[in-house]
Symmetry: C2
Subunit: 179 residues, 2 copies
């Protein structure tokens, strides 16, 4: 960050009053530009005992396999984000189950959240995938999985099929009032 997104003037690293960390602060309008971790949402789509994986058509890790996952967008829940990524990458509809794994990727400033999911439709390679394929649980291409967070999610999913874990999920809408 070099310039203020509010007024266009230069920013400097300073510790604001009452804060304990350096932040990008505008030299002109004094706005503090906080930077926070991003959320990656994904799922493990299963049908008939097989798991859907996508071969990546983009960097990083072009040509490696991944569970459907990507950056959460504004305007959606984490479960909706996981379903949207599956639609985009695998042209597939899923019924999202429960959140069963969380992976902190501190140095990337990311938190990866993974859901169980039931595959509900046909599938095909989306724009970001070279191909999409169903894998039997003893045929997962472990050596060719794109990201360690996906490997973790797949391993934990196979250990207990997501049966013994999951958090209470809830959505809050301002339009629905305070309770």
């Amino acid at each position: 960050m070099k310039f203020c997104s509010n007024c266009g003037e230069p920013v400097s690293l300073k510790t604001p009053a009452g804060d304990t960390k350096d932040r990008w602060v505008c030299d002109a309008c004094a706005i503090v530009h906080y930077q926070n971790p991003k959320i990656v949402v994904g799922c493990v789509p299963e049908r008939d005992g097989k798991i859907l994986l996508c071969k990546r058509a983009i960097e990083p890790r072009h040509g490696f396999w991944t569970v459907p996952a990507g950056f959460m967008e504004l305007g959606e829940t984490i479960a909706q984000g996981a379903a949207r990524e599956t639609l985009e990458e695998a042209c597939a509809e899923v019924r999202i189950g429960h959140l069963f794994a969380s992976v902190d990727v501190v140095e990337a400033g990311q938190v990866h959240l993974f859901f169980t999911a039931a595959l509900m439709s046909d599938f095909a390679a989306g724009d970001e995938s070279l191909e999409v394929q169903m894998f039997a649980k003893d045929e997962i291409p472990w050596e060719d999985i794109a990201f360690r967070s996906g490997t973790f999610a797949l391993k934990k999913y196979l250990e207990d099929a997501g049966e013994n874990n999951g958090v209470h999920m809830h959505e809050i809408s301002f339009r629905k009032g305070r309770d």
Copy 2:
């Protein structure tokens, strides 16, 4: 967002090639400025059957009670963030347990994640708290809880004490290599 944080020139809302949503794109250097949801991390600190709550000294919801929680920072895991917020707001050390609740606050662009926690130290009001107090489980001030996400977390915590839920947690460090 009005100006590019990279070059200081004006930005416009456009759908970048290969994208499906409008983004803030720099008119001069063409950088795409993605905006994503933020993570709020919190915990329910318990000791001797009582729960620690903080009375807020800041807006929003000044004077209302909350579990310790706040925006996750870069450079920490979600569990570390929940512990840091407890230290800041209640001057208290906790041993974080497991992630047991997730609340989507879509209209605020936030995801709130709550952990179980064991209170391990004394406590006192931090800068953002008017007071900090232990409440017996039948004395929670339900009418005066600051945020609906905190109410949800407290209710679910009291329903099963977090015993029957939780996700597999993992941290990935680039320095530790790929596996």
